[in-house]
């Protein structure tokens, strides 16, 4: 394959070269099991500890509160099902309509098993009404789970305020922070977040490793049982190489978070402004202010997302879409629908998500190609007069 311009970093990221170097020995020479009594295995344990500490430093929490999992989805499932199991007398879950399927599908499955599920709606900027949340949290509520930042639009919820509201009613609060970690600074010590999910491959670690942060004292039952690992909070032999990689990635993220909010943000803004200007009938989806620095979601009226993506692909440009056709579903993204984006635009929504590895030259290339692609598809569209 020739040149690739990778603007799909909310889907996954490249493994940083330093991260790859750090994990390599644990796939070759240092293959021991950290639970073993012999030195050969046991020496691996301290590397898991270093990793745990690096992640705790990035999140601003204690390393004993970090539990390694297999992925972000597992962290979400553990948090939701684990808390419900720990509070069997409570029957209500509160979430939002714009969550990632890892949370939303899990909650809806529980609803079908008899739990009461409240899905808070969002306004056209993708924000929830805090009053509505406040009114819903009651004695019967076992868990409130609300994402930190939206994967499709990058919209950031006021998580600290939300956590405060939930805490005031003495209810457990979980946040899916898969898109936020590594992109915006977090400090869990100063927050009321009880549980937080993150995923390694969203910030330059490999796929197959995640974390669930569990605040000390939070009541939660394990999701995967059958071993003493992670203090019996998550059984199963540790993915040592993945965990070491995640630690290294956290170390890098702590340093590069400033760059995310300066260099990457500047590139994103340049891309967004140029496209909105050069493509008539385009509009920004989401909250322009409270947003991840790397994400932009733009709708192009009267044309369809999959067709746009395939034409971008012809130029080696990688992005994604909330269009129905790209997923095999028949309806456009639940996030676009929840925000009330009209159908004329929802099917033509494109997400560009950047990282520190992107360059201004790449941004310029996409800026040059985008109007050509849009015009080409508009010529075919029955909604546009020729």
């Amino acid at each position: 394959m020739s040149r690739v311009i990778y603007f799909d970093n909310n889907a996954t990221t490249n493994v940083a070269p330093e991260v790859f170097e750090a994990m390599k020995p644990f796939l070759t020479d240092l293959y021991g099991n950290p639970s073993s009594m012999h030195t050969f295995g046991g020496q691996v344990e301290k590397h898991i500890r270093y990793s745990r500490e690096a992640i705790a430093a990035l999140l601003g929490c204690d390393s004993s509160e970090i539990v390694f999992t297999g992925c972000g989805t597992e962290s979400d499932n553990t948090a939701i099902k684990g808390v419900l199991a720990a509070y069997p007398e409570k029957r209500k879950i509160i979430t939002t309509r714009v969550e990632h399927p890892a949370v939303l599908t899990t909650c809806r499955e529980l609803q079908n098993q008899g739990y009461r599920l409240i899905e808070l709606g969002v306004d056209k900027y993708g924000q929830i009404a805090l009053d509505e949340l406040k009114a819903q949290v009651d004695d019967d509520t076992a868990l409130v789970t609300i994402m930190y930042a939206n994967n499709e639009t990058g919209v950031i919820f006021p998580i600290d305020k939300i956590a405060e509201i939930v805490k005031a009613k003495d209810v457990v609060f979980h946040t899916d922070a898969v898109q936020a970690v590594g992109k915006i600074p977090l400090n869990l010590n100063n927050s009321n977040i009880d549980l937080l999910s993150l995923s390694g491959h969203k910030f330059h670690a490999p796929k197959g490793v995640g974390v669930l942060y569990i605040r000390k004292g939070t009541r939660i039952s394990p999701f995967i049982v059958g071993g003493h690992q992670e203090k019996s909070r998550r059984a199963g032999t540790e993915n040592v190489a993945g965990i070491v990689a995640l630690g290294k990635a956290a170390e890098i993220a702590a340093k590069s978070i400033r760059e995310e909010n300066t260099k990457v943000k500047k590139l994103r803004d340049k891309l967004e402004n140029a496209i909105l200007k050069s493509c008539p009938g385009s509009m920004l989806n989401g909250d322009k202010i409270n947003r991840l620095p790397n994400t932009t979601n733009i709708s192009f009226e009267f044309i369809e997302g999959e067709a746009i993506l395939l034409l971008l692909d012809q130029f080696g440009i990688c992005a994604s879409s909330g269009s129905a056709c790209t997923s095999g579903a028949l309806e456009p993204s639940h996030v676009m629908r929840a925000m009330g984006v009209p159908f004329t635009a929802a099917h033509g929504s494109i997400r560009f998500s950047l990282s520190t590895y992107n360059t201004e030259e790449e941004v310029d290339f996409v800026i040059e190609k985008m109007p050509i692609i849009v015009n080409r598809l508009r010529e075919l569209s029955p909604f546009v007069e020729s």
Partner: protein
């Protein structure tokens, strides 16, 4: 990523006959913005009654554009009677295949062609009459006649296939049972659709509550969710089932008459004839 073959990609990247024919003899439109794809077909006949010029405009994905484009090539030079015989399967075959979930694109091509022919017959400029039949899938506006047609022409066996070919059942999903019945009718067997209608003989309280819960989850909630609402099962007291409506349907002034009746109807049908539904009082 979809596994499109070279021919599909070729017709998507370099579509033939894109645009609109001037002063057309027939105009056909199929699909809508809400559904995520739409096709407008225009054609003109020569003095021998053969299709001399035909063009398309498509809002849709690569397979929708490719299906429309190759179809225009297929019908050029045919008489109306010949063109009318083209099925969605002919379009798929000509393309060398489409991913299973994209079959509805070829059906849209065929339907736009038929709409254009109907338009030609009813007279220039008049919009073609929508297909006959009863709406089965309210999310995508698909009728029983349309579903029957794709089942017969494509030798369809499952509800999932019906969804792939004509979208029916792909929204809230509450019509899937009805689609299964249409399949069973055409394929001439007694299927699941009729089985669930027989009342269970004797239920323990626990079994009854579970069946009520399942009926609400499978038969009622998808319908409400499609309209922005939701339902909670609050309690069961003997044959009295207490529920709460939320979202759009709870504010709907007719909710008490409509939604309560729908829930009660379904529960009477699937659980027990003596069930009464009550809305939770605040």
């Amino acid at each position: 990523m979809w596994d499109y073959n070279k021919k599909v990609m070729e017709y998507f990247l370099h579509p033939k006959n894109a645009g609109e024919v001037e002063n057309p003899d027939g105009i056909g439109e199929e699909g809508s913005l809400a559904c995520g794809d739409m096709l407008k077909l225009t054609f003109k006949l020569d003095k021998n009654g053969k299709i001399a010029d035909v063009k398309f405009k498509t809002f849709g994905c690569a397979s929708a554009i490719a299906s429309a484009s190759i179809m225009t090539e297929m019908v050029k030079g045919l008489t109306i009677e010949e063109a009318e015989k083209i099925t969605n399967k002919d379009i798929v075959d000509k393309l060398g295949g489409l991913p299973e979930q994209k079959m509805h694109c070829s059906v849209m091509g065929m339907e736009a062609l038929q709409a254009a022919i109907a338009n030609y017959r009813t007279g220039k400029g008049k919009p073609a009459k929508k297909a006959e039949g009863k709406i089965v899938c309210t999310c995508f506006g698909v009728t029983d006649k349309e579903i029957e047609k794709v089942i017969i022409e494509n030798d369809i066996e499952t509800v999932e296939q019906v969804t792939n070919y004509c979208k029916a059942g792909g929204g809230c999903g509450s019509c899937r049972g009805e689609i299964q019945q249409i399949i069973d009718k055409i394929r001439g067997k007694k299927g699941k659709g009729t089985e669930v209608h027989t009342h269970p003989k004797k239920l323990t309280n626990l079994q009854k509550i579970q069946l009520i819960q399942r009926t609400i989850s499978e038969q009622v909630r998808p319908l409400l969710k499609a309209h922005g609402g939701d339902i909670d099962l609050i309690d069961v007291e003997g044959s009295k089932v207490i529920v709460a409506f939320r979202g759009m349907c709870s504010q709907c002034p007719t909710a008490e008459f409509t939604m309560k009746d729908v829930v009660e109807g379904r529960l009477k049908e699937f659980v027990s004839k003596d069930i009464v539904v009550e809305e939770q009082s605040e």
